[in-house]
Each structure stands twice: as structure tokens, then as C-alpha cells.
């Protein structure tokens, strides 16, 4: 687990949720997960490839997503599956965009793939190299789960082995 790669995502999630929901939040359960990811609600997965490789999953139950959506839009919105999906995607985009900004300014270059719906009840089993950190952000709108598995990309690892600085 490379905390230096994961910390920017934690900071970004904390900042984005606190500002968007305009209420305090706390980090509840935090666990390492080697087994396949078990989805809790509507989940969006974003893959990163390049100097840093891995994936981040954002997962909200339907009721939480609707409450978060209303905070994002600042208005009452009719409940629908589209609304829930759009909320999870927007949250993923904002958190990852902020984290990417930090990592890129630290010199890491990588591609962020568009979010995809994580529809399966269970994800693929993680390998030892991609052991995931699962965090629960407890907010006034409900629990937001973030699951991160991140490692250095091949070029970074080879560069470090050769003693070069990437």
C-alpha cells in the first residue's frame, strides 16, 4: 500500500465532500481489503494508468446519492437511477480531478480514464500488489465509501530500480 499515492485522494475527498455538502464529516471505518470489492450501492470506478496505476471506486447507496445530488445542485431533484448515477460520477470526477492536480504537480504523469459504472456485486479479486484501502466518509447526507488500490506504474518501478529519478 503506497500511502503517498493514496493520501491525495483522501485529502481531495475530504475537501470536496466538506465543501459540496457544506457540513462537517468524519472518516469512519477504514480497512484494507485483499478480497474482491463488494458493492454497497451505486458505484463508479475510475482507472489510472501511467506513472501511477490503479483504480478508485466511489460507492453510495441510493438515498445518500439523492441527498448528495440535492446538495450539489442546491435544489430539490426528482429521484431516479439517472440522478443517482450522475451523482456518483460527478463526485468521482471532482475528487479524482483534485487528487490528480496534486499528484501531477508532484511530477507524476498518468491518464485518468472516464468513470464507468461498477455494476457487478463483486469486483475482481485484488492481488497483493493492489491491496485496496476502503474508507467510509460519514456525512450528514449519509455514508460515502471510497475504495482505492494504487501502485507505481512499470516505468516508475524500472526507473527506481535503475537508480534514476522519474
Amino acid at each position: 500500500m503506497k500511502m503517498e499515492l493514496i493520501q491525495p485522494f483522501i485529502n481531495a475527498a475530504d475537501a470536496v465532500l466538506a465543501q459540496s455538502l457544506a457540513s462537517p464529516l468524519s472518516i469512519g471505518n477504514l480497512s484494507m481489503e485483499e478480497e474482491a470489492y463488494r458493492r454497497k450501492g451505486m458505484a463508479a470506478m475510475v482507472r489510472l494508468t501511467g506513472d501511477i496505476e490503479g483504480r478508485v471506486i466511489f460507492d453510495l447507496d441510493k438515498e445518500t446519492a439523492v441527498r448528495v445530488a440535492r446538495c450539489f445542485a442546491g435544489a430539490e431533484l426528482p429521484e431516479s437511477d439517472d440522478l443517482v448515477r450522475e451523482t456518483v460520477f460527478e463526485l468521482a470526477n471532482q475528487v479524482i480531478g483534485n487528487a490528480v492536480t496534486t499528484l501531477n504537480d508532484q511530477g507524476f504523469h498518468f491518464r485518468v480514464h472516464p468513470p464507468v459504472l461498477h455494476a457487478a456485486e463483486h469486483g475482481a479479486k485484488n492481488s497483493e500488489d493492489t491491496e485496496a484501502l476502503v474508507m467510509c466518509f460519514e456525512t450528514a447526507s449519509g455514508n460515502v465509501f471510497m475504495n482505492i488500490a494504487m501502485q507505481y506504474g512499470c516505468a516508475q518501478v524500472k526507473g527506481a530500480a535503475a537508480g534514476s529519478h522519474a
Binding site: 470536496v16 465543501q19 459540496s20 445530488a69 450539489f72 445542485a73 442546491g74 435544489a75 450522475e86 451523482t87 460520477f89 460527478e90 470526477n93 471532482q94 475528487v95 479524482i96 480531478g97 483534485n98 490528480v100 492536480t101 501531477n104 504537480d105 485518468v112 472516464p114
Partner: protein
Amino acid sequence: MQEFAALLRKQDRQPVRYLVVDDSVFARKNLARMIETFGGQLAGEAGDGAAAITEYDRTNPDIVLMDITMPQMEGIEAAERIVQKHPEARVVMVSSVGYQENIVAALQRGARHFVQKPVKPEVLYEVIKYVMGEDGAVASAAAAGAPGGAGGAQ
């Protein structure tokens, strides 16, 4: 929601007209709500860069608020095309991806400013004031959100 003194066009004291470009419905709604508190008027919306170019031609807004990562055509390319065709266009990039390379690329290709998401209304307000420059004017606070001012798409 915070209250702001209305930002108007200096030439005719009419509300500043905005084109909001973002593939996220939430982001568009959120920006539209902020525009309303600035006493502005939503001239149009678009969900991708290609649609933004068409909407710019159709609505001729005073300000474009443009996301970067979008389907079809990304915001930086759309900004460049708009500015090539309309050198007077004022495009402000609004994105969660705010690393230096991205900002520099946007500014080099015609954008006037950059605001990072999640957008803070007070930051966006100051950026709009700066970008409008001498073409903008701040009215009294009571004018913001006045009837006939903000919100209505044309």
C-alpha cells in the same frame, strides 16, 4: 447561498450573459444558481465542446464557463476554436483538474482564467469581475436576482 452585488455590462447596464458548458447536469445547475446570485443571465448551456461552439454562435454570450474534460470535444479545444472565431470571447475554464500544465495549456489556447471545482461562489465572482474588466460594472446588492435579471435562458 451568499449574496453578491450584481455584475452588469457597463455599456447598457444589462445582466452579464453566460454560456455554461459542462457534461455534468449538476455542475450546470450549480453554476446557473451562482450566476443567478451574481445578477447574471443564463444565455445557454452545452454538454460538450462541439455543442459549446454552436451555442456560442447562437447566443453570443459575454462569458463562457467551460469545463475541460468532456465527451466529443474537450473544453480547451472548444475554447481555442471559439476564440479563433471570436477573438473578443471571454472563456473561463472551470474544472476539477487544475494542475499547472492544464492551466497553462488553457491560457495559451485562449482562455482568460481558470477556476477549480468545487467552485467557490466568491472565487468565481471575483474571476468574472476580473475577466469582464472595464466592460463590467458592479451594481447595488439589491439588483442581484431582480425580476427580469437572472435565470431565464434565451
